[in-house]
């Protein structure tokens, strides 16, 4: 039976729309997976000696101290990305397969997931280095067993917590608060968790705790599904209660207003598009990496400008690149209605401009790093509104990836969104302002750099109608192939 399941899985994998497209993509995907595996492996090997030689500290206790953060990140990633594939179970329910078999298969599938394998790549090399360096063998083995057990504990906990929507945000807030408290030396949670992880190494019998936990959690998952393997319970897709929102105040903007209303609902009511708002908030903090001088290499005008573009451009980049793909699910409707393409575009454009403006205001705390920095952000925002908003829409016209609005799964790096044309269009988004600012500030001072970027942005506004015309033409010439591409939802 399991063999049959496995062939099913293999077919699902190789025949999925995003995978079957072309060889280049498969290679890119493979490389990305390999990259992560290698990074983790290198980390596993290097961390031990780094701590020992560079920091002159005892590696095992030090690692144990930060394991809380390691597993914390892991939980967040999984909550966000790892989903139990319940949909694939549905067709099996009515076939003559015992329920426990189906459940063992579904749970077994999560055990084999990349999210778990990744940790082997870290812990195995680390474990080997531990032995090579002469750590006590038995303790090392038991610690290793504990770590792997913990990884799978998290795997099963994630299954049990599946479908609980706001958990991720709750968890993230706790993590941010804890990180902030320890950064300002108010409360360091690692001091309390370190002995716990250390005990898994020092105390011979302690490994039994995570081991028993993982077995118990497996059976908890199993029992949960035995009870809930029905379409209306464990396998149901949650429905939210809908409320009609008319946004009448937008009606006065004509058909741009009509589309704006829809776009606001689009963003509010779909998991995938809500992600763009989250992204724009995260990008707001991106500048901290650059302006605080944490990373020395980034502490130059060019890099600062680079960051300034991103601080206000989060929404613009993540939302704009998928216009018109956001409307892919009902593209046939759009194409048979009498749609003024320009109004359609300008609705998306206004959304991006408003979001950029709001981000600029929210970025005001960057004033702390000096007026120059905030002026850069303002210049970047004007460049975003004037130039990048158009470029991003232009790039989107070439992306024909149907978007499944209800799954947040592919939110990070859509594989098909990667193509050469889009790449080429993307370059000026960052390069031009960076060069303008760098040249301006290098030869004439920061104010001139700021002025150069701002003027480029203002000039961009003048191009609006021209760019819209090009995009409209593109939409029309690409119409049939776009409709065809959007049909292939998967």
């Amino acid at each position: 039976m399991f063999k049959k399941f496995l062939t099913l899985e293999w077919k699902a994998f190789t025949r999925s729309a995003s995978f079957a497209t072309n060889l280049a993509l498969k290679i890119v995907m493979g490389l990305v997976a390999l990259y992560f595996a290698l990074v983790f492996a290198a980390l596993g090997f290097a961390v031990y000696y780094l701590i020992k030689e560079e920091l002159q500290q005892d590696p095992v206790p030090t690692v144990n101290r930060y394991l809380i953060a390691y597993f914390g990140f892991d939980i967040m990633f999984r909550l966000m990305l790892q989903k139990l594939p319940v949909i694939n179970i549905r067709p099996l329910l009515t076939l003559p397969i015992p329920r426990p078999t189906i459940i063992r298969f579904a749970i077994g599938k999560t055990v084999l997931s990349f999210f778990n394998f990744l940790h082997w790549f870290f812990f195995v090399p680390f474990f080997i280095v531990m032995l090579v360096d002469g750590q006590p063998v038995l303790n090392s083995i038991l610690w290793f067993v504990s770590m792997i057990s913990l990884v799978y504990c998290i795997n099963f906990v994630n299954i049990l917590l599946n479908n609980k929507d706001n958990l991720f945000y709750g968890f993230m807030s706790v993590a941010i608060v804890l990180a902030g408290l320890s950064y300002y030396d108010i409360f360091d949670v690692t001091i309390y968790t370190q002995p716990i992880f250390q005990a898994l190494f020092d105390t011979v019998w302690a490994f039994a705790i995570p081991l028993v936990a993982v077995i118990a959690l497996y059976f908890a998952c199993f029992r949960y599904f035995i009870k809930h393997l029905r379409l209306d319970t464990g396998l149901s897709v949650k429905q939210e209660r809908a409320r009609t929102e008319n946004f009448d105040w937008l009606s006065r903007y004509g058909s741009t207003g009509t589309f704006l209303k829809n776009d606001i609902r689009l963003i509010k009511r779909n998991k995938r598009s809500r992600g763009t708002v989250v992204a724009s908030i995260m990008f707001l903090f991106y500048g901290l990496l650059f302006f605080t001088g944490i990373v020395e290499a980034y502490d130059s005008p060019g890099w600062h400008m680079f960051a300034a573009i991103f601080v206000t451009g989060g929404f613009l980049f993540t939302f704009g690149q998928f216009v018109p793909s956001w409307d892919s699910a009902y593209y046939n409707l759009m194409m048979t209605q009498n749609i003024p393409y320009k109004d359609y575009l300008s609705s998306k454009w206004w959304l991006m401009v408003v979001a950029t403006a709001v981000s600029t205001i929210l970025a005001a705390p960057y004033l702390y790093f000096g007026v120059d920095i905030y002026l850069m952000i303002i210049g970047g925002a004007i460049y975003n509104m004037g130039v990048n908003s158009h470029l991003v829409l232009l790039g989107g016209a070439y992306i024909k990836t149907p978007i499944d609005l209800n799954s947040g799964k592919k939110a990070f790096g859509d594989k098909k969104a990667f193509n050469v044309k889009t790449m080429l269009i993307s370059l000026p988004k960052l390069l031009i302002p960076v060069i303008l600012y760098w040249v301006g500030s290098y030869f004439f001072g920061n104010m001139v750099g700021f002025a150069a970027v701002t003027i480029a942005g203002i000039l961009g506004f003048a191009l609006r109608d021209k760019v819209f015309d090009i995009i409209v033409k593109l939409y029309k010439t690409e119409k049939y192939s776009t409709i065809q591409a959007y049909k292939q939802t998967n």
Binding site: Q239, E240, R241, A242, R243, T244, E245, N246, S255, T258, K261, N262, R265, L266, R269, N270, A329, Y330, Y331, N332, L333, M335, T336, Q337, N338, I339, L405, N406, K479, Y480, I483, Q484, Y486, K487
Partner: protein, 231 residues
Amino acid sequence: MIQVTDLSKKYGGVKVLDISSLEIPQGQSFGLVGNNGAGKTTFFSLLLDLIEPSSGGITNNGVKVNESEAWKPFTSAFLDESFLIGYLTAEEYFYFVGELRGCNKADVDALLAKYEEFFNGEILKSGKYLRDLSKGNMKKVGIIAALIGNPKVIILDEPFANLDPTTVNRLKKILREIAANHETTILISSHDLMHTVDICERIVALSHGEVVKDIRTSEETLKELEEFFAV
């Protein structure tokens, strides 16, 4: 109203549709029947310029559909769920379509009031987004939305499928009323010969992409069609 000349559609060398000539006058209620793969949906998709003809073309009220968009204001359609916006409530969807078709809220409300019975109390103010409705209820929403804004041409693909018997009868009544004024051209496709005969003045049967029957509906039509599709 609708004129088809030398229309063909090929996929990888295989002809899926080949109609040398077909004319549908204004106000006619036109039924398209045929087995799966006969080319019904392909024909409607070509008529709505959703796919590109391999040769020939269709004019709708004098507008060549694959060259101009001027047919859009007077043509409306519901082919499948890709005509629905899943994250809207039914009301929002109707108002959205209304605004695109030049109807204000009051116009749409009036139309909805007229078809309240058709919705059977399950759609308006149901607290559900369209994506969470049952297939039948989705279809009801799509069909009514296709009636917004007094279109001159209404295209419905398989409107009777997935509907309960009562709703089918209500839908037939609605379509007959619209057909009665002889201004609106209605094109429907169906697998159900009886429903099609009930509504349409003219029935065309497609087989492997070609027109094999073109009948003015009469007493004998149903029998003739049933014989044609007999196994």
